[in-house]
Amino acid sequence: MKEFIYFAFKNTKFKIGLAILLFFLILAIIGPYVSHYKDPLEYVSMSNLPPSRENWLGTTTFGQDVFTQFVYGLRSTFFIGLFGGGLATIIGLLIGFIAGYKGGLLDDLLMMLTNILIVIPTLALLIIIAAYLPYRGIGIQSVIIGLTAWPWTARAVRAQTLSLRSREFVNLAKITALRPLKIVLEEIAPNMMSYVVMVFILQFAGAILAAVGLDFIGLGPTKGISLGLMLQYSTLWNAIQLGIWWWFIPPGLAITMIVSSLYFLNIGLDEIFNPRLREE
């Protein structure tokens, strides 16, 4: 473990990814306390004001404060990543691990379910589910995303489990008389751990992008604000054509940077966990 931390802070990709992610995370946490307004949807000022001392990121066409919207939107983005991505990771891990470890009929049934979900176009499914719900909050949106994003994780985890289970080092641990629980925790789990972390990171990024996609086509939360909704509103009210850049650049840039930082983290962690990739 100490070793992983040592290599983590020697890895540039990991450091860049972590720094960007932490920046936005801290902004999401403390932003709402430092912004001048408490309600992101409140009409607080004149419309279309450029950034100023009073409105740090200007105002929208309706006179809402963009900075307030931005920091609350960041919060929902992280919330969706954490819960939507987390839910998808947990379901995928459970199904993949059980299918790979137990094998047999259970494996066949679980993989049939997974494959069926994989061939259904996720976005179409999301649209249908979202359209059926008259009231949609950020929470429901994350659950919907989590319930549809797990299949590829399950497949990958199943393959990983199958391959680990048949590796000779598991047998070597058995003939060293290690207890089964110790084998799962000390031999198999550390090999899965890096995988789990990376799956979570990719699911986190995937959930954010899925949420933005839903928001943008108008099936986002009916209440509250999110980065995707900011993008949708700004496009809807011709912010791009009218040159109101402070309305759409912050959310667009934040989404791009958060997702890229997650991919940086992913690649960095891969190099940290896998000694074979550590060499310079």
């Binding site: 641990a173 003939i175 060293t176």
Partner: protein, 312 residues
């Protein structure tokens, strides 16, 4: 010391409709005495490794028993006790090590599991000594990850691990297949030194010259059944079963070029390939066989020499 009695392993694969039953090991009998090396010889898929896995309690037999000093090994519930007496070395050194740890972990775990009474510094001295025996320098290998070492070095680490444990039974599953010719002899010598202190060794191999070099007894497997067994001298000097003869005939010799008139593998009647229940398993490749070759039983042909062939 250790004895296989009617050992059988059947693998089921496929689901309800396309059930596929493979008999990997079919009523195999052998016994390895104290300080004896038994070579288990056969081609890929003949069930050699499956037998090795069963002897290490990694697979449960479908039938028959393995007796360690007349006690069924699957009735020994204390794994620590069992594995301090019976150990194994596997075929693939690369997958025998957990890739995220350094290789010295295998020695640490052995001490934790079996030799807690030995102090760490004394243990390290022992590890160093044993590594020297297999031709490795402790400083060069112990603090490395598996991808920094060669297959031969890894395999010798595993052999060192087995040597450290002064076991009674060792299952060595094709341990020399990853080594180059010069280190191969060192490893075989290491096995012999283990034999000298009274260990029984199951030497699984497909290399007959190595089998002859170190073994006392041999069991030749074909599709999971024993076709010939006995003392290695007798089987090698007077091979009776057509399969054993073919194997011995296919050993490349230093002083002989390939000749046309050796017994050919292709030399069989294709009509006999239609295998039926109860017929000899070797029927489709055998030069002696006819359609009525029923499944033979092992019979004694001379002292310490058994053959399973109805034509003999």
């Amino acid at each position: 010391m250790i004895k296989a009695k009617d050992l059988t392993k059947v693998f089921n694969s496929g689901l309800l409709l396309s059930k596929n039953i493979i008999t990997a090991v079919d009523e195999v009998n052998f016994e390895i005495g104290r300080g004896e090396i038994l070579a288990l010889v056969g081609e890929s898929g003949s069930g050699k490794s499956t037998i090795g896995k069963m002897m290490l309690k990694l697979l449960k037999p479908s039938g028959g028993q393995i007796l360690l000093e007349d006690k069924d090994i699957f009735s020994i519930s204390n794994n620590k006790e069992f594995y301090s007496r019976v150990q194994g070395i596997f075929q693939d050194p690369y997958s025998s090590f957990n890739p995220i740890f350094k290789v010295n972990r295998i020695f640490k775990l052995v001490r934790q599991s079996f030799k807690k009474e030995i102090s760490i510094s004394e243990w390290n001295d022992r590890v160093e000594e044993v590594l020297k025996k297999v031709g490795l320098n402790a400083g060069d290998v112990l603090n490395k990850y598996i991808h920094q070492l060669s297959g031969g070095q890894l395999q010798r680490l595993l052999i060192a691990r087995a040597l450290l444990m002064d076991v009674e039974v060792l299952v060595a599953d094709e341990i020399t297949s990853m080594l180059d010719a010069s280190t191969r002899v060192d490893v075989l010598e290491a096995l012999l030194s283990l034999k000298e202190i009274g260990a029984s060794i199951l030497f699984v191999t497909h290399d007959l010259s190595q089998a002859y070099y170190i073994s006392d007894k041999i069991v030749v497997l074909y599709k999971g059944s024993v076709v010939e067994s006995g003392s290695i001298e007798k089987v090698f000097s007077n091979p009776m079963h057509p399969y054993t003869r073919m194997l011995l005939d296919s050993i490349p010799q230093l002083d002989r070029k390939w000749e046309e008139d050796r017994i050919s593998v292709e030399d069989f009647d294709k009509s006999r390939a239609a295998w039926k229940e109860g017929l000899c398993k070797y029927i489709d490749r055998c030069s002696l066989a006819d359609v009525n070759c029923m499944r033979p039983k092992l019979k004694l042909v001379e002292e310490d020499h058994y053959v399973a062939c109805v034509k003999i």
